[in-house]
């Protein structure tokens, strides 16, 4: 849509919004890799060979508990350092 871009400038707030959407997508991809890698990387061997952390199978600890914690920390970091505040209110919001 090149010809449209010439007519007007995109709302500058959208640049922020687009970037943040990409961060969200990135986090999901990373979340999936960690979740999948730990679960099936460690959990695919015979149950008799499992190791345990806090009494839970290691695959479960890493995939469901540690990954959740990592993602949470990354979400907080992303919001604090990468997300920008933009005003929402238009001229005549009722």
């Amino acid at each position: 849509m090149k010809q449209n871009d010439k007519v007007f400038e995109d709302d500058p707030r959208y640049r922020v919004a687009n970037k943040e959407a990409l961060i969200g997508v990135g986090l999901v991809i990373l979340n999936f890799i960690l979740w999948y890698g730990f679960a099936y990387g460690l959990g695919s061997k015979p149950v008799a060979e499992y190791s345990y952390i806090w009494g839970l199978p290691a695959w479960f600890f890493y995939s469901c508990i540690l990954t959740t914690a990592i993602i949470l920390v990354l979400v907080i970091l992303a919001v604090v350092f990468l997300f920008k505040e933009v005003p929402f209110d238009e001229e005549d919001e009722q």
Partner: protein
């Protein structure tokens, strides 16, 4: 009747009613009834926003059905349910600011308002409204059945009596308080869900003699209970991974979730909601499903999965505490149906009536109509839930997947791709819902994935393909839409 269990539930109901009355004072004083009734005047702060999203999304299945399956399948099912962690941050970061800004530019109150302005097509609006009304109506009825069954099992009332109590409680606060009542009660319900999860998980671990002890008991019974593949090794990595689409990222397309992304006050609120949402979703999903698995070591031999949660609560906790914990699934069910109720009535009043029947209706009429329609829908759902017809159960099966297949691309691509147009959106809705129903009927779990995956792919292809093919036809309208929605 076990009063120690029932009393906390009654107190919970009274609190919910009080919130309804509190919110109704806003409705009386507002200058814009529609914005307040259906959107709480876009005033949600971060905490309430996070809680209303989670509470709306966490339904009977998170607290009753899910833990029941986890009881049977073992840790593999907890792994599967953790795909929901993504909903906490994905929905808000993707819809987030863009949706909030666009919705304000066009003063959209409902998801369909947005689609209407974005695509400028009567048929997109009508198809969307029909999808919302049919699918959400049946989803709602199914939740009511769950709520009534829960009250029935706790109080010993008859099913119809329990359903009546449940229906009246939800209807009263939704009708008098609108979206604001729904959002605030959702917050209370979310808090109850959070602490209910914490208490029941701790209680179960203690009753089972610690996590290590529970895990080794499970492994002794059937080693696959602690593997990621499920007790019968039926959970393949591909199948489990496909849930990322259904309950992780596809949730972006659910109208009841999307509408919340236009209700917040500021970007600060949105940021806070992102963090709180991720914490709470992660904790509730992990805690509830893990409790379901652990319950197997404490109370072996439960045949009916849906009774696992109530029975484990009664078993491991003192009666009064079990009452508080069992308010959690009730809260989950109520907070889901209240939002659906409002969404279906907004589709009828705002999207159909005000768009096509009587665009110039005055405020008083809109007010009476909104309240009237909400009441009528509530009564209809009640009637359906007394003796649920097969069609309803059949439709409910489709509701979440079907809505995701219908709306995910018209919403997401509508926000991020300027060339997406009305023909593309229509093609996407039709192929999404159509192929979802076809796959579900003729080829469930195609190639070992959840049924929703292929329709989401097919509707993406339809959206992009048809938008590109028909771009010439829509050139003039598109230009206007882009200027209106994208310009600074």
């Amino acid at each position: 009747m076990n009063w120690q269990v029932v009393l906390p539930l009654l107190i919970f109901l009274v609190v919910i009613f009080l919130i309804g009355f509190y919110a109704s004072t806003y409705l009386k004083s507002t200058s814009n009834f529609l914005q307040e009734y259906f959107l709480g005047s876009r005033q949600l702060g971060g905490f309430i926003l996070a809680m209303t999203m989670i509470a709306t999304y966490g339904s009977a299945s998170s607290f009753i059905g899910g833990p029941g399956v986890a009881y049977t399948m073992g840790l593999g099912w907890v792994l599967l349910s953790m795909t929901q962690l993504a909903t906490g941050y994905f929905v808000l970061s993707v819809l987030g600011k863009k949706f909030a800004i666009m919705a304000r530019k066009i003063r959209a109150v409902t998801l369909i308002d947005f689609l209407k302005e974005r695509y400028q097509s009567k048929w997109v609006v009508i198809l969307s409204a029909i999808s919302i009304i049919i699918f959400l109506f049946s989803a709602m009825a199914a939740q009511w059945v769950g709520g009534a069954r829960l009250i029935e099992s706790l109080t010993g009332l008859s099913y119809t009596g329990a359903l009546f109590i449940f229906a009246v409680s939800v209807l009263v606060y939704v009708i008098i308080g609108g979206f604001r009542a729904v959002a605030i009660t959702d917050t209370v319900q979310g808090i109850v869900m959070f602490f209910g999860t914490l208490i029941i998980l701790i209680g179960t671990v203690i009753a089972g003699g610690g996590m290590g002890n529970i895990v080794s008991e499970l492994a002794a019974e059937n080693p696959d209970l602690i593997s990621p593949f499920g007790s019968d090794r039926s959970l393949t990595p591909l199948y489990v991974s496909s849930f990322w689409i259904l309950v992780g990222v596809g949730v972006v397309g659910l109208p009841q979730v999307a509408v919340r992304a236009m209700s917040y006050k500021s970007s600060k609120g949105m940021h806070r909601a992102l963090i709180i949402g991720t914490v709470v979703v992660g904790f509730i999903m992990l805690g509830m499903h893990l409790t379901g698995v652990f319950a197997r070591a404490v109370l072996p031999g439960i045949e009916v999965g849906d009774t696992v949660m109530p029975r484990i609560a009664m078993e491991v906790l003192p009666a009064w505490l079990a009452g508080i914990v069992l308010a959690a699934p009730m809260a989950a069910i109520m907070s889901t149906v209240d939002s659906l109720l409002l969404l279906v009535s907004s589709a009828v009043v705002k999207d159909v009536y005000l768009n096509y029947v009587k665009p110039d209706a005055n405020d008083q009429t809109i007010k009476r109509l909104s309240i009237g329609v909400t009441t009528v829908i509530g009564i209809l759902v009640f009637a359906m839930a007394i003796n649920p017809p097969d069609l309803l159960i059949w439709l409910n099966l489709f509701s979440f997947g079907g809505l995701e297949a219908a709306f995910i691309w018209p919403v997401v691509m509508g926000l991020y791709w300027k060339r997406g147009n009305a023909s593309g959106a229509m093609a996407s809705i039709l192929t999404g819902v159509g192929s979802y129903i076809l796959f579900n009927t003729f080829m469930p779990n195609a190639f070992g994935m959840h049924t929703v995956v292929l329709p989401v792919l097919v509707s993406f292809v339809a959206y992009v393909g048809v938008s590109l093919l028909s771009s010439r036809q829509h050139a003039v309208v598109q230009e206007k839409v882009i200027t209106k929605l994208w310009s600074a």
